[in-house]
């Protein structure tokens, strides 16, 4: 009944295009059944014109507008679970309000049962309905958890790109081990190819999350987590840390640039030509606390650096310098 392959954006987009003509009911025929509630009349359409700026931004409900197979599957399971629950939740809400209204003291037509306190039949129903719904949802959860296990490789004919991600205070480092380059605060990937991430943290816990690509995963010092994602088409996506990590947390976001395969290769080639080298020394300098680091790249990476981070041969980040307020954090100094 839902249409996961139809992103939410087009639904709002259609509404906006239709609105100025004031004939939403007519144009709705061209749309998917779910797209446009038929109760909308001309007045709401006019409202939509005024609300257009709001709706324009509203259409970027990115979790419902995924750009890769993982995000799509997350969204499908989200919508499906919601639909299954609404089957029971909506009648409950209606019944609550209806009972509360009908059995008001002033309603002479309502009957009164001053003693009634037990009915085996109703008891059985009220236990078994939630139980059956939960059995169904439990099945969805079991299958979904296994299908969408972040560590599970994506089915694809293209070999996966290896990326090693490190969360630092407060920036992201992405190492491309096969290509021998690295990037700070910008992730560049080929569109249409699966990406396999190995993730860790240089200091405190963080979580790597690109909402439009799907599942997030935590990063922890001394440990590696696995994540598989894919961007279906070229584009720029917003990525961020979704686990609070201290004073500079708000600036721990990055852009994900999905490029066509040949452009990605070109980017790798260009990256190899300029920039510093990521060695244990430059890495250690990077672990010091800082915010608002402009994206930059390393033209080469010391082999096995990620291994040295996760085995703590390279020590964890030093944390703040002494004092209060923390001198290394002066919000929004650059930019």
């Amino acid at each position: 009944m839902n249409t996961p392959e139809q992103p939410q954006q087009s639904r709002f987009g259609a509404l906006l295009h239709a609105a100025p003509f004031g004939n939403l009911n007519g144009s709705a025929d061209n749309l998917e059944p779910l797209r446009c509630p038929r109760v909308l009349n001309a007045r709401t359409a006019r409202c939509a014109v005024f609300l257009a700026p709001l709706l324009l931004t509203a259409c970027q409900v990115v979790v419902l507008d995924p750009k890769g197979p993982v995000g799509l599957a997350n969204k499908t399971i989200l919508i499906d679970s919601l639909a299954i629950m609404l089957v029971i939740v909506l009648p409950t809400l209606v019944a609550t309000l209806a009972f509360a209204w009908w059995f008001r003291t002033s309603n002479a037509r309502a009957f009164y049962l001053p003693e009634w306190a037990y009915s085996g039949r109703i008891e059985m129903i009220v236990w078994s309905i939630p139980l059956m719904v939960i059995m169904l949802l439990g099945g969805v959860a079991w299958i979904g958890s296994h299908d969408l296990d972040p560590a599970k490789p994506l089915a694809s004919t293209t070999p996966a790109l290896e990326v090693q991600a490190v969360s630092l205070d407060w920036k992201w480092l992405f190492i491309y081990p096969s290509q021998g380059v690295a990037s700070v605060n910008r992730l560049v990937v080929p569109a249409g190819a699966p990406i396999h991430f190995s993730l860790t943290s240089a200091s405190v816990m963080n979580a790597f999350f690109v909402p439009q690509l799907g599942s997030m995963i935590a990063t922890m010092n001394g440990m590696t987590t696995q994540l598989n994602l894919q961007a279906d088409a070229p584009g720029t996506f917003h990525g961020l840390s979704s686990q609070f990590s201290g004073d500079g947390f708000s600036d721990m976001h990055f852009d994900v640039l999905a490029l066509p395969a040949e452009q990605f290769t070109a980017w790798i080639e260009a990256t190899r030509k300029t920039g510093p080298i990521l060695t244990p020394e430059t890495y250690t300098a990077l672990t010091r606390q800082s915010v608002n680091i402009r994206p930059f790249t390393f033209r080469a990476v010391t082999a096995g650096l990620f291994q040295q981070i996760i085995t703590r041969q390279l020590p964890p980040g030093p944390g703040p310098e002494a004092g209060r307020p923390n001198p290394s954090v002066s919000p929004r100094t650059e930019k």
Binding site: T57, A58, Q60, V61, N74, I77, S81, L82, M85, T92, L93, A95, T96, L97, F99, A100, R104, T105, L113, P114, W116, Y118, I122, E123, V126, W127, P130, I134, G138, A141, W142, G144, S145, H146, L148, D149, A151, S203, V204, M205, F209, P211, G214, S215, M216, A218, M220, N221, H238, L240, G246, F249, P316, P318, G319, P320, R324, P325, V329, R332
Partner: protein
């Protein structure tokens, strides 16, 4: 001499905490000065501070909860307004301050707002409903309350001396370790919760013992009011879960104070162990809060629908099922830590299973309303608002319990909206329902209905205006705890939420106005009979407010809904039962033990936070000495003579006879 404490600890450079702190100190000093100058101090000391009466302690708990609720709400206003301003700008709160605000908001709301409210209601109501004269350990009860107050005091002290934790309301290591949080903020958090956690544990032990061991004659388990059952389940959870919290925080204390490595990055520490342990307490904590609220709603829905609670045994089973299952779901707080598909799926399903008994409860309240004659008083409005809101919150909760959906919603504003949806929708609504429902019992006059209803509607509307946008912001990929942001798509939702919080501020103003107006109009709102709502359980058999001994003679319980049965028999026979033979009643003597002990605990906590070791030693000695003095006291009870009991009870009986006569005359 003073450890880490120096003048640098006072935030002279930061106007916001300084001004806020000065105002609070001024108000507190003004109140104390007024109390002393108007000669109320002896009364306050004798009747409240040293009181071991469960009703007085319950009232003090609720008062503490309401004041802290206001403090936490001010934090909420600051968070919402900061985010409303901080689009592509730094806003008005720098990160090191904003991080304290949201950490304090969560800590205060859960530990010092919600917990005192529910424990206060249980303390006040449970002995009355069981038909007994006090809790099992009255002095311990007082100690528990004052230790909770100590924790609240320490958290609020951090506003002006030093700083509060910047690591969130649950301080995940390694961020909360010394390396990454070298300041005293986390120490304030740790010691406030260590001390108040002991207080909560004492309250839990006390109430369990009371429910299991003290009953009026004939008050068997299956005749207990629903609120007593939920109180039992909640306190069982307290006793099982709070030691986990205390132990976990102690491990973090050892890490920070003695260089242990339980959760550090180095030397074999494992931060995931902290996350596991804290949520092994944290999830039962949710049910510690919510179960008593369920109990309140059971009482309220039944009373104001003029019907017995539907499916009482089913409700008991559901309550105890929630009590047990709540210990098997904690991992759903960190599906994204990479636990693996089997583990995630198991805990996801376990979390969903809790929705079954919870759903049963909703349906049973629904069928309690079915065939009722519903009176729309303020408590009933809170109950109906709860049923609608909680069903929605429960639904988004099951979505979050679905691991693949949680992978895109975890730690987002969707999650924030969800847990506010369930906690505000159940615990806060429940606390306000209980507050309005039992207020006349505690003080002898009802609360102003009009302002109460205004507060309800403003809270309900304000709640949805705040949190529906946050759900959508979460679906738009906005994570929580952002001090500033520059994604345009999030902004409209944050602005709408800021409008919502203004509506909720009006609701808070209504609540305060309601209390003030009700006190001023107390003669008009006086509850003459002790049974203002036509109640069904034993607390309504006592006068309002109840005498120190609650019941002149312990009631003889003959079935479920004990007081309803008594009323029906009185109506049938057209008279009250025979006047009983009054005897002397022994009641526990007041004791300053709790207050003095908490006094020392406050200094001990403060000294531990600032590494003032000599003061730690002195305060520990003082607290120990307090107990020794208490243990050696000779007289621990006093006698209320039979004549006094008879005099008080005859007034109560004449009030009930008047009601009976009116009832006779009516048809």
């Amino acid at each position: 001499m003073f450890g880490k404490l120096s003048w640098a600890a006072i935030p002279f450079d930061q106007p916001i905490p300084l001004i806020a702190g000065s105002i609070v100190i001024f108000v507190v000093l003004a109140v104390i000065a007024w109390i002393v100058l108007s000669g109320h101090l002896p009364y306050l000391w004798r009747e409240w501070v040293t009181s071991v009466d469960h009703k007085r302690i319950g009232v003090m708990y609720v008062l503490l909860g309401l004041v802290m609720l206001l403090r936490g709400f001010i934090d909420a206003i600051m968070m919402r307004s900061q985010q409303a301003f901080a689009y592509r700008t730094p806003g008005y709160l720098p990160p090191e301050h904003y991080d304290q605000i949201f950490s304090a908001h969560g800590t205060i709301m859960i530990f010092f707002g919600a917990m005192p409210l529910v424990i206060g209601l249980m303390n006040f109501v449970v002995p009355l409903q069981l038909g007994v004269r006090d809790v099992a350990f009255p002095t311990l009860n007082s100690v528990g309350f004052w230790l909770t107050a100590t924790g609240a005091l320490l958290v609020n002290l951090s506003l002006v001396i030093g700083e509060f934790s910047r690591a969130g309301w649950l301080p995940y290591p390694p961020l909360s370790e010394l390396t990454y949080s070298p300041g005293v903020g986390v120490d304030y958090y740790l010691w406030a919760l260590e001390i108040s956690g002991v207080g909560t544990l004492l309250a839990g032990i006390n109430l369990i013992t009371t429910i299991l061991k003290l009953h009026a004659p004939g008050m068997t388990y299956m005749r207990m009011p629903m609120f007593c059952w939920t109180a039992l389940a909640s306190n069982l959870l307290i006793v099982a879960a709070f030691p986990i919290l205390t132990a976990t925080l102690t491990m973090l204390v050892l890490d920070r104070y003695f260089g242990f490595h339980f959760f550090t990055n180095e030397a074999g520490g494992n931060m995931m162990m902290f996350v596991n342990l804290i949520w092994a307490w944290g999830h039962p904590e949710v049910y510690i809060l919510v179960l008593p609220a369920f109990g309140v709603f059971s009482e309220v829905v039944s009373t104001f629908s003029r019907r017995p609670l539907f499916g009482y045994r089913s409700m008991v089973a559901a309550t105890m099922a929630i009590c047990i299952i709540s210990f098997t779901v904690w991992l759903h707080h960190f599906f994204t830590m990479g636990g693996g598909a089997d583990v995630n799926a198991m805990f996801g399903i376990a979390s969903m299973i809790i929705a079954v008994p919870t759903g049963v409860k909703i349906f049973n309240w629904l069928f309690t309303m079915y065939g009722g004659r519903i009176v729309y008083s303020t408590p009933m409005l809170w109950a109906i608002g709860f049923m609608v809101t909680f069903v929605i919150g429960g639904m988004t909760g099951v979505l979050l319990a679905m691991p693949p959906a949680d992978f895109v919603l975890h730690e987002s504003l969707f999650l924030v909206a969800h847990f506010h949806n369930v906690i505000i929708g159940s615990v806060l609504f429940g606390a306000f329902a209980g507050y309005a429902y039992w207020f006349p019992k505690a003080f002898g006059f009802r609360l102003h209905e009009g302002l109460g209803k205004a507060a309800f509607w403003l809270t309900l509307v304000g709640f949805y205006v705040v949190f529906v946008p946050l759900y959508i912001a979460g679906l738009s990929g906005m994570t929580r705890r952002l001090q500033h942001f520059d994604v345009a798509a999030w902004r409209p939702w944050i602005l709408i939420a800021a409008i919502g919080i203004l509506i909720m501020a009006c609701a808070a103003a209504c609540q305060i106005a309601q209390l003030v107006v009700s006190i001023r109009q107390r003669e008009a709102l006086r509850d003459q009979t002790g049974d203002p709502w036509n109640g069904r359980s034993l607390e309504w058999a006592t006068p309002s407010p109840p005498p120190a001994f609650n019941f002149a003679v312990l009631p003889n319980v003959r079935g479920e809904e004990a007081y309803w049965g008594m009323k029906q028999r009185a109506l049938e026979q057209a008279k009250l039962g025979e006047e009983p033979a009054y005897v002397d009643i022994e009641m526990p003597r007041n004791s300053p033990t709790g207050f003095v002990c908490a006094f020392f605990a406050t200094f001990m906590g403060f000294a531990l936070i600032w590494h003032i070791w000599w003061m730690v030693g002195l305060a520990a000695l003082g607290a120990y000495a307090t107990f020794v003095v208490f243990a050696w006291r000779d007289k621990d009870e006093y006698i209320i003579p039979a004549e006094t009991v008879a005099r008080i009870d005859r007034v109560n009986r004449s009030a009930r006879n008047a009601v009976l006569a009116r009832h006779e005359g009516a048809p």
